[in-house]
Amino acid sequence: MRLLGRLGGAALSLVMVAVLGFFLFRVVPGDPVVSMTRGRPTTAAMQAELRAQFGLDRPLLEQFWTYFTGLLRGELGTSFTFRRPVADVIAERLGPTLLLVGTGTLIAVLLGLWLGIRAAWKRDTAFDRVTTGVSLTLWAVPTFWLGMLLMMATGDLFPSRGMRDTDTAPDFLSQALDVGHHLVLPSLTLVAVVAAEYMLVMRSSLLEEMHAPYLTTARAKGLRDDLVRRRHAVPNAVLPAITLVFLRFGLVVGGAITTETVFSWPGLGLLFYDALTGPDYFLLQGLLVVTAGGVVVMNLLADLLHGVLDPRVKVV
């Protein structure tokens, strides 16, 4: 029953996003037809034809109805810019985004949590101070700047753009190695910038547990310090971090606009950026629905998983 309620809530959120997205992007300044034809010999008749092709000459409510009923049938419309179905355009960018942001987030989560636990456990030591200091600094650094800096600092060890070279041998191993090679700098940038968040949350929630009596009991039983931390303190402190992790994973689908821009990574973040310059209404709407879908699903999962991780939640 509770599950059904949650599912209903999630579905409702998605519908709201779809409706809101339509009207939100219509407020974005700019006229797609003007953007498209700017700088090219164009006649007024051609502009009118384009407007009609895109359905932009219809009343706003009619445009909305067409879009909404299409959405219910699973159609996201056609991109003005790429002249292809929005679903296709998004699908081919989804893989690269999941690869980059997924890898980056995963490493950042593991590293952040590990550092957070260590820092809390050894609070006020040099390790704690250095880790916290470095993490905060990296968090404060503009992603764009950090990315460019990494690119310059690593010389020609790593490629400056994209996901693969044009002249890599077509066999699977070479291609996989090439993608891995291209992945290093962007994911490093991503990790450097977001790991601090997990580190700080983990550190502070573990610190709260540090003086709990059950830890003293555990130590009195003769457990190693490591085991006290692993089996007793961390499981109790990890909940806030888990929530954060799931929220973050929800955003994975949205891509990482700045990182993707610096490294010309062909993901959804970059696509979002390009779509805004049209503005390419259908593409923007499609991207919003997909991104919001990711967040909603992950939130739902976090909700359900909380019940598993923390028996207290189940009772409520």
Partner: protein, 585 residues
């Protein structure tokens, strides 16, 4: 023991991965950075400059522009003539030219392409304006195309329309939805499209049987960069061979770099400052909210006189531009116009002040005469710097500027709605000046619904329009040149916009990879974004040892990273075991 084992495994990984792939004769590859996406590969739909450039490589046009001097030369058609009434044009498609799949190119392909555009509105998306004046197109036999126009049209040799193969395209059911990605894409140009990965790269192979002769490179790869700083870096590292559209600072950063040659070329673009002369619709209904004082030509001239264009060129363009005058940049020398000594407006704040006084725009108590909005694009270095500069120099003549730097879309919206006083703008021009001249005719203003306009300067002048109509049907070139120059003089005199600068096109290439490029025009011309494909077609690879397989370098790095990772793990494990040795005992 364990440490040794790990090291062995790591070493094996590295060795295994670095074994060079067995490579036979490596094809020569020219790698070009592009900083704009490809919107579509369908030549009827593609509107981005990058896509147009790729389409040009894939499909020849009816005529072409020579590399040396941009004169009209042979394309698909080798000869052409026009009837006495200038309404009928006959083009001859010679025998022997072939599509990349071996089929002969005939007059029927030409007629098919143009007729498709006349009958299918989707096919008019990108290049419809070129056929707007066409009455009919027929292929009278395999070699002859006859085009009848509704009115005489002097630009008939400047039809920038890719000609597509009829035998492929007559099977296309909806041009609107056709992606044109059945690889290799059958074309007639010097290169054949073989692969496109959206947002990443495009690969083309040389069309060895092209009627002009085979290109010197085997393959041409366009790789996409979202940001031009990264593209410049990639050139420095040798990842790409050619980069264009560089900012002056980026261009300077490559000075003296070994293996890199820079090309400062005359560009097709100019930058202008729009001065809203009273925006109105096609029927003359005023729109927008431009400052009424600007309707007075004396005020507009005074503004132009208060701007030190030489200083702008040297400080904002860092010298990579020429001072502006007429609407056609000097790269199109034939059509380019410069004011005579008497006509020239010189930078003269005192004279500008006096002119404003004479125009009745008096100084108020606070010393200002007018408050004007200046709009520009946020993030464009030129607008950011030049706006500060203009603020100071117009301040000297009592004009207070409220600088508003906004997004590209907002700027377009303001200029198409006439809601600006001053704004930065700019256009790219073509070999034939018709397009840039047409922008300033009364008919290019928007319709009653505010839509359908292409101008952003809102110039509407009877004299100018009359000259425009005359040049469009003047088939004697020297007379037409005279008319085109008169139009530019009129525009300069009436100042709906000040052409501030003709921007240089800044390009750079790896001279250790590429021996030479063909520029257009031969003197001071560009390599990329030509009115043709000579840059790529004429590129010659430098004589160098066969390219090392990229795989091995990649593998080396990956191997290195794996090794490093293993070392870290081993060290961590050892340290940990030492640390907990007491507890375990």
């Amino acid at each position: 023991m364990r440490v040794k084992l790990c090291a062995l495994v790591a070493a094996a990984t590295v060795l295994g991965a670095t074994t060079p792939a067995a490579v036979a004769q490596q094809p020569t590859i020219l790698k070009v950075a592009i900083v704009q996406q490809i919107d579509s590969l369908n030549p009827f739909l593609a509107v981005f400059q990058s896509s147009t450039e790729v389409n040009r490589l894939m499909y020849d046009y009816l005529t072409a522009y020579a590399a040396e001097d941009q004169r009209v030369t042979e394309g698909i058609a080798s000869r052409w003539e026009t009837s006495a009434d200038k309404l009928t044009w006959t083009f001859t498609v010679p025998e022997g030219k072939r599509w990349s799949d071996g089929q002969p190119i005939t007059a029927h392909d030409v007629a098919f392409t143009y007729t498709l555009m006349l009958t299918d509105e989707a096919a008019r998306t990108a290049n419809g304006s070129f056929v707007a004046n066409f009455e009919s197109v027929t292929a009278t036999d395999d070699r002859t195309v006859v085009i009848r126009t509704k009115a005489p049209q002097v630009t008939m040799l400047a039809l920038d329309i890719p000609i597509v193969p009829r035998h492929v395209w007559e099977e296309v059911t909806g041009v609107k939805d056709y992606a044109n990605d059945r690889m290799p894409v059958v074309g007639s140009g010097p290169f054949v499209l073989t692969e496109h990965v959206a947002g990443q790269f495009i690969k083309l192979k040389a069309n060895k049987d092209h009627w002009r002769g085979a290109p010197k490179y085997d393959e041409l790869h366009f790789v996409y960069f979202q940001n031009s700083d990264a593209a410049v870096q990639a050139l420095g590292k040798g990842e790409v061979d050619l980069v264009n559209r560089m900012a002056p600072a980026q261009f300077d950063s490559l000075a003296g770099r070994q293996g890199v040659t820079r090309n400062k070329a005359q560009g097709r673009r100019f930058t202008e400052l729009l001065i809203n002369p009273g925006a109105a619709t096609r029927s003359g209904e005023p729109i927008g909210d431009g400052n009424p004082a600007l309707r007075d030509v004396r005020v507009r001239r005074a503004i132009a006189q208060a701007v030190d264009m030489d200083a702008l060129v040297s400080r904002v363009n860092l010298g990579y531009a020429e001072r502006g005058a007429g609407l056609v940049p000097p790269v199109f020398a034939k059509w380019h116009w410069q004011p005579s000594e008497q006509e020239r407006r010189r930078y003269d704040p005192a004279a500008a002040n006096a002119a404003l006084d004479a125009a009745g725009v008096a100084r108020k108590a606070d010393g200002t005469r007018l408050a004007l909005r200046l709009m520009g694009r946020a993030g464009r270095a030129y607008d950011e710097q030049a706006s500060e500069y203009l603020k100071r120099s117009l301040g000297e003549v009592g004009i207070a500027l409220d600088v508003r730097l906004v997004s590209d879309n907002q700027l377009n919206e303001a200029t198409t709605a006439g809601t600006y006083d001053l704004a930065f703008s700019g256009w790219a021009t073509n070999v034939d000046p018709d397009f840039v001249l047409s922008l300033h005719t009364c008919g290019q203003r928007p319709g009653a619904d505010g839509k359908g306009g292409t101008t952003d300067a809102y110039f509407c002048d009877e004299t100018y329009d009359r000259l425009y109509a005359r040049q469009l049907s003047e088939f004697d070139e020297s007379k037409r040149i005279e008319l085109v120059k008169q139009m530019q003089a009129r525009f300069y005199d009436q100042v709906p916009a000040v052409v501030l600068a003709y921007d240089n096109a800044l390009e750079a290439y790896r001279s250790d990879h590429v021996a030479r490029f063909t520029t257009q025009p031969a003197q001071g011309g560009v390599i990329m974004a030509q009115n043709g494909v000579w840059g790529y077609y004429g590129a010659e690879p430098a004589d160098r040892a066969a390219t090392t397989a990229t795989v091995s370098r990649t593998a080396l790095v990956i191997g290195g990273v794996v090794l490093l990772g293993l070392v870290v793990v081993v060290v961590a494990v050892v340290a940990r075991r030492r640390a907990t040795v007491g507890e375990r005992e």
